[in-house]
């Protein structure tokens, strides 16, 4: 589904990603872990097409298409979704208006009919229920006055309604208490199936207790320095990132 080859990227003139290699197939959940400043969020943003990040070399192929040639909205329409670490507030535009606009723009791109108001409302109701979200949140302005947990839940509501092929979760667990973490995780688990994939970026192992990954990658100094199964996350939790940084990082740079 997703193939990343030798991806290098800069932010404000500084090299952050220094040659990422990664392949994600249908039905897989990958976790990218790493210390602060290792480039985890940069990777998520580059995949979604943030123009604040400059890709200097490498390739990204998504379902056989060159993602780097596409604007953010086209990547979204092709099926890439980024759940933001810090979701944006949009006063004056309701969640319902925003989501309906997004769904219908994506449907138009695929030559599908726009949803009727009834179809849309039914869809929203169904997905809000999964997340235990109050109906009133849907009529409120996007993320305005939402608590940190509500914002993250709202990201997952968008994920469930837009139903992309690849979900990128950027530090979705940050700032969540354990109850909110459970709800958000169960939302992601409802989303995942044999035909889609999840790439989650996190600093902490605790999210992986709820969303169990198939693969764990450690990102350090702009490169993936170690990959393994879900056990790797536990090992990291135990030994800390220093363990990787001192051993694997040097090896990777040889």
């Amino acid at each position: 589904m997703l193939v990343i080859k030798n991806l290098k990227a800069k932010v404000e003139g500084k090299d952050i990603l220094k040659g990422i290699e990664l392949e994600i197939n249908k039905g897989e959940v990958h976790a990218i872990m790493g210390p602060n400043g290792s480039g985890k969020s940069t990777l998520a943003n580059v995949l979604a097409g943030n123009e604040g990040y400059e890709v200097t070399s490498g390739e990204i192929w998504f379902e056989g298409k060159n993602l780097l040639d596409m604007a953010p909205e086209d990547r979204a329409r092709e099926g890439v979704f980024l759940a933001f670490q810090y979701p944006i507030e949009i006063p004056g535009v309701s969640n319902a208006t925003f989501l309906k606009t997004a769904i219908n723009e994506i449907r138009k791109y695929h030559n599908q009919q726009e949803l009727t108001p009834k179809e849309f409302l039914d869809l929203i109701k169904e997905k809000s229920k999964v997340l235990g979200m109050d109906d009133s949140l849907v009529s409120r302005a996007v993320n305005v006055g939402f608590s940190g947990g509500e914002k993250k839940r709202n990201e997952i509501l968008q994920l469930l309604t837009l139903n992309p092929k690849l979900a990128l979760l950027d530090e979705t667990d940050s700032g969540l208490d354990i109850d909110a973490l459970k709800i958000v995780s169960s939302g992601v688990n409802v989303f995942r199936n044999q035909n889609n994939a999840v790439l989650l970026v996190t600093h902490y192992q605790r999210l992986l207790n709820y969303i169990v990954p198939d693969f764990v990658h450690v990102l350090s100094g702009g490169k993936i320095v170690k990959s393994g199964g879900k056990e790797l996350a536990l090992e990291l939790e135990e030994k800390g990132y220093d363990w990787i940084s001192s051993n694997e990082f040097e090896k990777a740079n040889v």
């Binding site: 909205e73 979704f81 309701s94 837009l162």
Partner: protein
């Protein structure tokens, strides 16, 4: 443009106009023929006021960039043209049905319509006005009830510049609204000014006088629109008196033609426990200047100024506000925003005086601007003069572009660039639009914002 042709179409073509373009005394010289054209109307006290003001047309000159009050606004394209004063109702150019396109719809209202500053009875709707309320045009009040008009006319606004003088000398009509004590007006009043002509460069100089009595409430919407192809000049004086405990909401929708000039001076005067809310929506005009002034002459007064300017092309929109805190325990809050595209130029000058007696004043001011293009610009200047020592005052100004991170966020949901920008514009304008109490007006304003900026509109649920 063919100036000769204009002269012959001009109702005052007998006037000598050989010095035409560079004539600084045009408004002085035009007076004789203007006076003749007034016929029977020259006997009222209004005409005495005109004559009193006439000498100031000679003494005052047009402001230049050297005048502190006008340093960002070049009005030479106004002063270099000779706009023709209008004293009679021009031929009606549209039907009452068509007029509705210019008005906020979806609620009941009283309607006063003016064409080039002159009242049109045919296009107005003043039926069943409750007792204790006057909603009329000024020239009718001057004829039938001059004492009451005399009590309020030009009592608040002084002649501060040549534009005020031109209005005072040439204004023959306008709105007169008076609500007696203890009355809540049952529905809003809409005033619509249609300005401009096909064959003349006209001067439209209406007055708006609003007097709201003790513990009374009124909501008034004043719309300015353009008609015809020639440039024209709208130059307004508005006076608002809010008596003790009164509440006035005044909404301005300035949607003049793009080749027109628009200047308004509004002077409000508030007595204790009163509330004055002014909402200023600026869409049209090539050069626009608003002076919006309030004197807070009692305790426990609230004054709210909301402003939103949308400009593109080479539009120039200058808003000067002045809140004068004269007494203790009052609050004023001001939120002025602008969205400027292309080569548009915005000016905001927000003056607040807190006089020595005005202890426990709360005065806030915010000016925020979004520049949609590299050539758009804003000059913004807060001006706080505080003479009392126990006050809370704050001001802030920001100038920026649409937020990149928010723009990216919206696009990652599959929403294209133009629609993403519209969503951000809507978000930026939201607090000003939402401050309007009438829902139908809010909806129509949102629509007008997108239309004016040539942007795709986001359709609400």
């Amino acid at each position: 443009m063919n100036l000769k042709k204009l002269m012959f179409n001009n109702e005052m073509s007998n006037q000598k106009m050989n010095k035409n373009k560079q004539n600084p005394n045009w408004y002085l010289e035009s007076f004789v023929s203007f006076e003749e054209s007034l016929n029977g109307h020259s006997k009222t006290f209004l005409h005495d006021l005109r004559k009193e003001t006439l000498p100031s047309l000679e003494q005052l000159s047009f402001p230049t960039l050297k005048d502190e009050e006008w340093k960002y606004t070049n009005i030479s394209s106004i002063s270099e043209q000779n706009f023709i004063p209008v004293s009679k109702l021009p031929q009606i150019i549209l039907s009452k049905e068509k007029l509705k396109d210019f008005l906020f719809q979806g609620f009941d209202y009283y309607l006063l319509t003016f064409v080039n500053g002159i009242y049109s009875n045919e296009l107005s709707d003043l039926e069943r006005i409750p007792e204790g309320i006057i909603i009329e045009n000024i020239s009718t009040v001057a004829k039938n009830n001059p004492q009451i008009l005399q009590k309020y006319f030009s009592k608040l606004s002084k002649t501060e510049n040549i534009f005020n003088a031109i209005n005072s000398v040439y204004s023959v009509d306008g709105s007169f609204i008076k609500v007696s004590d203890n009355i809540v007006l049952d529905k809003p009043i809409q005033i619509v000014h249609i300005n401009g002509a096909e064959d003349n460069k006209v001067l439209s100089v209406p007055r708006n006088i609003i007097v709201v009595g003790k513990n009374s409430q009124a909501s008034i919407i004043v719309n300015y629109f353009g008609h015809g192809s020639e440039p024209y000049f709208t130059n307004i004086i508005s006076e608002v008196y809010v008596d003790e405990g009164g509440i006035v909401d005044l909404i301005k929708n300035q949607s003049e033609n793009e080749n027109s000039f628009h200047i308004e001076k509004l002077q409000a005067f508030q007595e204790k426990n009163s509330v004055f809310n002014h909402y200023n929506f600026e869409f049209g005009g090539s050069i626009v200047r608003n002076d919006i002034n309030s004197v807070l002459n009692g305790e426990n007064i609230e004054t709210h100024y909301y402003g939103l300017s949308l400009a593109n092309g080479k539009q120039h929109i200058d808003n000067h506000t002045f809140v004068d805190h004269a007494k203790p325990n009052c609050m004023s809050n001001e939120v002025y925003k602008a969205i400027l595209d292309d080569e548009a130029h915005g000016v905001f000058n927000g003056k607040i005086i807190v006089r020595k007696d005005a202890q426990k004043t709360n005065a806030y001011q915010q000016n925020k601007t979004i520049l949609l293009s590299k050539k758009a610009k804003i000059d913004t200047k807060p001006q706080l003069e505080i003479f009392a020592d126990d006050v809370k005052c704050s001001h802030g100004a920001t100038v920026g572009h649409l937020d990149d991170e928010a723009y990216f966020y919206i696009r990652t949901r599959g929403i294209p660039e133009n629609l993403a920008k519209s969503i951000l514009i809507r978000a930026f304008a939201n607090d000003v639009v939402e401050s309007v109490k009438i829902e139908q007006i809010r909806e129509q304003l949102n629509h007008m914002i997108f239309e004016h900026l040539h942007r795709v509109e986001i359709i609400s649920e």
